[in-house]
């Protein structure tokens, strides 16, 4: 499935779903270089990407255990020269729309405590809340917050 849409900020930017492994090299280049951000196309060249998945998660509600569908955003990367144009925000919005449509009850992600920009994006723009503090979560010993958005 190929979906062609233009962002409000920049009509030249095209958002594309992941197709197959032929795109992996480009994705890997992005996340290797600009790790912490995802995936759009400019003149056929990828400038950002978002990597996510859906899991079944155990939840306790009113003392009862049950399973629920939870979205997870693993990586969001935008090439540094294309930042501050709302591309990251558009990518997250698209993912949230898709996850909501797929009946997820919430979406989770982790962000470095020091990454104030990312936290602002998730918390202020989308209503993610800090659910948990993860001490020494990253390989560089950095702390993180687990953020969650409840649909």
């Amino acid at each position: 499935m190929k979906e062609k849409k233009s962002s409000e900020d920049d009509p030249t930017i095209e958002f594309q779903d992941y197709l197959d492994e032929s795109q992996l090299d480009a994705v890997m280049q992005l996340v290797t270089k600009d790790l912490s951000e995802p995936y759009s196309i400019d003149d056929g060249k990828p400038i950002g990407c978002v990597v996510c998945k859906i899991d079944q998660e155990e939840a306790i509600q009113n003392g009862e255990q049950r399973m629920m569908k939870t979205g997870y955003i693993g990586m969001l990367a935008v090439q540094s020269s294309y930042r501050r144009r709302g591309i990251g925000k558009s990518l997250v919005r698209k993912v949230l729309e898709r996850m909501k449509a797929m009946k997820c009850e919430s979406v989770m992600l982790e962000t470095e405590m020091s990454n104030v920009t990312a936290q602002k994006l998730y918390q202020r723009s989308f209503g993610f809340i800090r659910e948990e503090k993860l001490v020494r979560y990253y390989l560089n010993w950095g702390d993180a917050y687990r953020l969650r958005l409840w649909f």
């Binding site: 499935m1 779903d17 992941y18 992996l24 090299d25 890997m28 996340v31 290797t32 996510c52 859906i54 899991d55 079944q56 306790i60 509600q61 009113n62 003392g63 569908k69 919005r93 993912v95 949230l96 898709r98 909501k100 797929m102 918390q123 202020r124 989308f126 209503g127 809340i129 800090r130 659910e131 948990e132 503090k133 993860l134 001490v135 020494r136 979560y137 390989l139 560089n140 010993w141 917050y145 969650r148 958005l149 409840w150 649909f151």
Partner: protein
């Protein structure tokens, strides 16, 4: 991203199944063809993260060569410029002191080298206690590897001689060599001991402790007794044979060996307490901790001096003896956490704090914790003190053994005493079969409360929310049944057990909200207003329950005093000497030390509620002044956030759970005059400041070990009161003209862990 539902994700499509080919043989052959000179199975130009992830699945150790930049392992003094910083394999584990790759310093070892090696070992020990694996801490010292220790032992240990019936090994080699050998052994012994304590206590988190030893080959030809003997003999040898004892390096060697010896003794003693000798053993460890602390504090400047004068020869030795990457192949091909060591001053500060914590957080609590409420308060203070995982583990190991708290106090008896004291109840209440059974039933959940305080803050919160609140809901229901049974026997009886269980459950609810604040989980203006509003509600409920308990206590005390007075009158009527009896009757009403501690905690709760209330009103005033921009979220709502934030409280019968609609109604100050609202907020902080002053004055008559807010905590709360009062005054000035402010807003959580200063900029 696929459009298929997640239920289908794990299933392999039938067509794909048909196309699958077993490539094990191909990979095996390819792996066998690898050589040391050309160990790559794939084309390096195209080997990226994606390939690496695939390689992980293959699980062939040769897939990851664990290469490291040459600059990381270059000898001291050899500089590698960025252009030549090529990747090389880590050095192999040494085969002995005369290792073919790079022999370890031995024949020419000086006392100065030995002192620096001991200091460096402290840095590696700190790393182990800080959560690094053994292969990234202890075993980054090449002397610690089995072939090297075996070699050292063969070279140094001569035949055993028996002088005066005491086993003593003859000393061969130089002092420096013996010091290095003794230090290596004690570090190995400490490593095993620390790991065993932490594993037994089983409260560690991933960030605190690495379980895996990565199958490192350990030198096991030792036991605690023999290691202690070797270190003690080395110390003895230093005392008798070394002439220049005044030299810094000799002092450092002696003090660090002694510290490690004492640390081992303290850890092993505290891990093996048993019924027969508990208090004596703890007292001994406490004395040892105090002495060690004194010695460490005295040693710090000496070590600093030694480090400043570190010659190049010692730097070269350290570079040859310690290799952070030597065990890299053992860690495997998964991405590894960066190896980090603290600086020397930070390492010494760590051990100073660690030793101090061994005294006050462990020994003092075990010796002084004589009632349930005191133990709870001490544990509460400990829980915010960021104890090292080893001390946390020792606290947990000693929390309950020999079927007693701290191996000294049966838990049902502690609960009974706590209730008796809080309500001033007679024994008869507890002699009832229902109450006796309920007290026994309460023991495990009560133990859980004590234990949860020792866990990391995040884990405390998760455990209370997911497990403990549900347990206490059931307990409250059972308590109501016990109270009904008691009421049938004694119609005048109040619902003592229900009140007691309710108080504890609300305390837990408040604690979990406070933990969220401490962890900085509430950060937006909206969430700050909501969380303090809910906490005000919880604290108000708690204060109401406690007030009822205090009233019952006073009534019981008054009744008891009346009875004593009546008895005294009868006795006065019978014989002379009434003055003495009257004095005895008055003594009943005097508050005990624990009563004063209760009063302190009660006032502290009132102070916290005052600060919550002030913050909610301040936020409302800020909102009224137009400083908060209303945000509506595209994918969620404030109702949903509220519901999820306090979802764990839905199961609790008391206080009834609140909804977002309750919040909107309860925090709606739109009909309140702006000036009045600002004054009311300001009044809350001024009243709170008065309470802080009163608490400070009470501190003079209370044992500081039994209070849940120290002088320093009170100072922080005073700053919150004053800071908010000042910013409220500023806001009042800003809105004087037209009711609106064009200033900015910042919420500062730095001054106090649980309360904020709302800054108007």
């Amino acid at each position: 991203m696929s459009d298929t539902s997640s239920d289908d994700m794990d299933e392999i499509p039938e067509e794909a199944e048909k196309e699958m080919v077993d490539i094990t043989t191909i990979l095996d052959d390819a792996a066998k063809s690898l050589t040391v000179s050309n160990p790559m199975l794939c084309n390096t130009d195209r080997f990226n993260l994606q390939d690496a992830m695939a390689a992980l699945e293959v699980m062939d150790p040769k897939m990851d060569c664990c290469e490291i930049p040459i600059s990381e392992v270059a000898p001291f003094g050899v500089k590698v410029d960025d252009n030549n910083d090529r990747l090389v394999f880590p050095r192999p584990v040494p085969t002995g002191l005369d290792d073919a790759v790079d022999p370890l310093p031995w024949d020419g070892l000086t006392n100065l080298d030995a002192a620096h090696i001991l200091v460096e070992n402290m840095i590696r020990l700190e790393s182990l206690l800080g959560g690094a694996s053994v292969v990234e801490s202890t075993y980054t010292c090449l002397y610690a590897h089995k072939p090297v220790v075996t070699d050292m032992k063969q070279r140094l240990i001569g035949p055993v001689s028996n002088d005066d019936g005491k086993e003593k090994q003859s000393m061969k080699g130089t002092l420096a060599q013996n010091v290095v050998y003794a230090s290596t052994l004690i570090i190995l012994e400490l490593t095993d001991s620390i790991r065993s304590i932490i594993l037994n206590a089983d409260i560690y988190e991933e960030e605190d402790f690495t379980v895996s030893t990565y199958s490192i080959d350990v030198f096991n030809d030792r036991d605690e007794g023999s290691v202690v003997n070797i270190v003690a003999n080395t110390l003895e040898y230093m005392v008798s044979e070394v002439d220049d004892k005044d030299k810094d390096e000799v002092d450092v060697i002696a003090q660090l060996l002694k510290y490690k010896l004492d640390l081992l003794a303290m850890c092993t003693t505290m891990a093996r307490l048993n019924g027969g000798n508990v208090r004596q053993a703890i007292e001994k460890v406490q004395r040892m901790a105090k002495q060690s602390l004194q010695a460490l504090e005295k040693l710090c400047p000496t070590i600093e001096r030694l480090e400043k004068r570190k010659p190049d020869s010692a730097k070269t030795t350290i570079r040859r003896v310690f290799d952070s990457h030597v065990n890299r192949p053992l860690v495997g091909n998964a991405p590894v956490r960066a190896i980090r060591f603290q600086t020397l001053p930070d390492t010494m500060s760590f051990f100073v704090k660690f030793t101090r914590d061994l005294d006050w957080a462990l020994c003092r609590m075990l010796l002084k914790g004589d009632s349930l409420d005191r133990i709870r308060r001490m544990l509460f203070v400990i829980s915010v003190s960021e104890l090292n995982i080893l001390i946390q583990s020792l606290v947990v190991l000693n929390l309950y053994f020999d079927e007693k708290i701290f191996g000294q106090h049966p838990l049902p008896a502690l609960i009974t005493k706590s209730m008796q004291r809080q309500f001033h109840l007679p024994d008869t209440i507890f002699n009832n079969q229902y109450s006796g059974a309920f007290i026994t039933r309460m023991a495990k959940p009560m133990y859980d409360i004590l234990k949860v305080m020792v866990l990391n803050r995040q884990r405390q919160r998760a455990y209370i929310d997911a497990v403990m609140l549900i347990d206490w809901t059931t307990l409250i229901q059972e308590a109501q049944l016990v109270d009904s049974a008691l009421k049938q026997e004694n119609p005048g009886a109040a619902p003592y057990f229900t009140l007691y269980a309710l108080t504890i459950s609300i305390f837990l609810m408040d604690h979990t909200v406070a933990l969220g604040l401490e962890l900085d989980l509430f950060c937006s203006e909206y969430e700050i207003a909501v969380v303090y509003w809910y906490r005000d509600y919880l604290l108000s409920s708690l204060i109401t329950q406690l007030s009822t308990i205090r009233q019952l206590k006073n009534a019981h005390k008054a009744a008891e005093a009346q009875m004593a007075e009546a008895k005294s009158k009868i006795q006065r009527g019978k014989k002379k000497g009434g003055k003495h009896n009257k004095k005895a009757a008055n003594t009943v009403a005097l508050p005990t030390a624990e009563d004063i501690e209760d009063d302190y905690e009660f006032l502290l709760m009132n102070l916290r509620r005052g600060l919550c209330r002030g913050t909610v009103r301040f936020m409302a005033a800020v909102n009224q002044a137009g400083l908060i921009k209303e945000i509506d979220f595209e994918f969620t709502s404030k109702e949903k956030i509220f519901e999820k934030r306090f979802e764990a409280f839905q199961v609790m019968p008391q206080p009834p759970p609140l909804t977002y609609a309750d919040y909107k109604q309860g925090s709606d100050f739109s009909s309140v005059d702006q000036k009045e609202l600002l004054n009311s907020a300001s009044e809350c902080f001024k009243t709170s400041k008065t309470m802080v002053d009163k608490l400070e004055s009470q501190l003079k008559v209370i044992d500081s070990d039994f209070v849940s807010a120290s002088e320093n905590d009170l100072r922080q709360l005073a700053k919150i009161c004053v800071g908010n009062t000042i910013y409220l005054a500023k806001l009042t000035q800003m809105v004087a003209e037209n009711g609106k402010s064009s200033g900015g807003l910042a919420i500062d959580m730095e001054t106090s862990v649980q309360f904020c200063t709302i800054k108007i900029t």
